[in-house]
Symmetry: C2
Subunit: 332 residues, 2 copies
DNA sequence: CTGAAAGCGCTTACAG
DNA sequence: CTGAAAGCGCTTACAG
């Protein structure tokens, strides 16, 4: 059995309260006593029991990232690795622990999230995606759980860090318009996500803003390479095939490019392609992918920083918009 | 404040002990009582406090993955995302929570790990890499902490899941020998890692086993794309440049390929390249990368499964070797 | 089948 | 500057 606070107290000849105070760096304790206690702690190899501590203090110094997908799916997309990188860095800096919660269906997601926070395993949550009808947000609001969104809520004014996805899609689409493309299609992720709705909206606005009366062509698929291939195949079977694709994710764009190459289309000569995210691999693809750099790392870092600030200083919830940038490479 | 077990007890008109028993699904409780209690739980939206529970039960149903790098670095390599995917899946299946622990230096690593386990935040650990002089392993052994290694320990017989890295390197190198390459260089990751030593060993054995008296050429770099470029640049500056590269990681291989393309070398005509891992991106590179598929996902999944088995059934520690396979594509 | 009591290992007013 | 006591919210022998 590990040493407890009593063992330390006994060895140092003080009361447990005193030991507790030196753990907490309480200034009231005299330097001699503190030194004596610290000596006992190292001699016993003492580590405070975090459960007892959390139970007494009502805080855990732990936050969780929730991902509304099966673990299988989630980390297949570099977006989440990059997001995690940012979150983990902020946690490291602020001495917080990070917990991961993945759930494949929306009921479980709500249940898991509430369980972690109400069960006092974590102090707060980062939600990695937001659905249009977000039960989770409502449930968390109702239960007064501290959380920050990666993305935005359609209905509630809550802490969030997001990109201006409408504007991103406008930029991407306009770029294609300016390149003189005639049939620009948009391959969207699942339409129940706010991010999908925003990007579709931006795509539409850009087309309408062009004076050329360009047709709107939106198809939906999953955020996977396979999804990209499949969507491209569908688009190619149309009477008139698109000459440009805006894909809502680099991983989708990758699938599109594969399909095109396999079927002998030249990129960008026959079909131009633009993605979203600027995943680390995207610069290295052949041809290198034109994409919207949404700064996923910053999204993660800032969300964690914001949550921890809220937790520690009850600072008010912020609405942060991370700037995005069109990175033009070889596919357009 | 959230409802506690007392609130539920009061509402259901039973004692807290009884509520605790229905939470635990204790068979002794009558069906009526159980139903009554469950009713009260949902009415109060009750969630048990995990800290109190862990404190009383001495277990948390949580495991941690430790990564001995800064968060910055870790998730830049797809290996960890893939590993995490496997681990998270197993956790999901077995209803365990997953905690992440990253630490950039070896002292912190030991401290963090002991803190998590001795502090009862987690029941056990998965170590994602093993150093030749592994203080962590010794410390964990001394403290009787349950853990499993991804990789192998040079000195201790402990629970582990690993690839036969020596054999992998033999296969990869032999493949190049059979392709008639004359100057086969090996780009290793940091030499303080067991996995690096094993792969270097395999490379050497394969060269010696060839009857052609091939020169040994080993350089060391970090597990990054930049590391690959830099190492390739060094090799290219030699009197006689290599005509084949075995890179200890696909990410390194990617850097090598970039360097070669930028400097006008044909792959594989001038220089053949082989990687390790079969990261998801590797099949999509141009040219597609020949690599050793080490089944990273399985490594992760099995490590978590093994750890949880040890935790739940005190099953003895296993030594599992995940088979690897040479995937020949276009770079060789 | 159920309850009262002690215990898990901390923290924190309250006294002195 | 330090200690005794109560409390955080559970679980689990021990009785009955």
């Amino acid at each position: 059995m590990s040493a407890t606070i009593r063992d330390v107290a006994t060895l140092a000849n003080v009361s447990p309260s005193t030991v507790s105070r030196v753990i907490a760096n309480n200034q009231a304790i005299s330097l001699e006593t503190a030194a004596k206690v610290r000596g006992a702690m190292v001699r016993l190899n003492y580590v405070p029991n975090a459960n007892a501590r959390s139970l007494a203090k009502h805080r855990t110094k732990t936050i969780a990232l929730t991902i509304a997908r099966s673990a299988e799916e989630a980390f297949a997309n570099p977006f989440f690795a990059e997001l995690l990188r940012g979150i983990a860095s902020a946690c490291q800096q602020r001495d917080y622990k990070l917990m991961l919660s993945m759930s494949s269906n929306s009921d479980w997601e709500v249940k898991d999230a509430l369980q972690m926070v109400k069960g006092k395993q974590v102090d707060g949550l980062i939600l990695s995606s937001v659905r249009a009808d977000d039960f989770l947000v409502e449930a968390l609001l109702a239960e007064q759980v501290p959380f920050v969104l990666i993305g935005r809520s359609l209905k509630h004014h809550v802490a969030m860090v997001n990109n201006d996805n409408i504007d991103c899609a406008i930029q991407g689409t306009r770029h294609l318009v300016e390149r003189g493309r005639q049939r620009i299609a948009f391959i969207s992720g699942p339409r129940d996500l706010v991010v999908s709705l925003d990007r579709i909206e931006g795509y539409r606005r850009a087309l309408r803003a062009s004076s050329r009366n360009l047709p709107e062509l939106v198809v939906e698929t999953s955020f996977t390479t396979a999804g990209g291939r499949e969507a491209m195949a569908r688009l190619a079977s149309l009477a008139e095939m698109p000459d440009a694709i805006v894909a809502a994710d680099d991983v989708i764009a990758l699938g599109v490019i594969h399909w095109l190459k396999e079927h002998g289309f030249a990129i960008p000569a026959d079909v131009a392609v633009i993605g979203f995210n600027d995943d680390p691999m995207s610069a290295f693809m052949q041809p290198a992918l034109t994409t919207l750099r949404i700064s996923t790392y910053a999204l993660g870092f800032e969300s964690a920083r914001m949550l921890i600030d809220m937790l520690e200083n009850q600072s008010p919830s912020e609405q942060l918009v991370i700037p995005a940038e069109l990175i033009v490479r070889q596919t357009t």
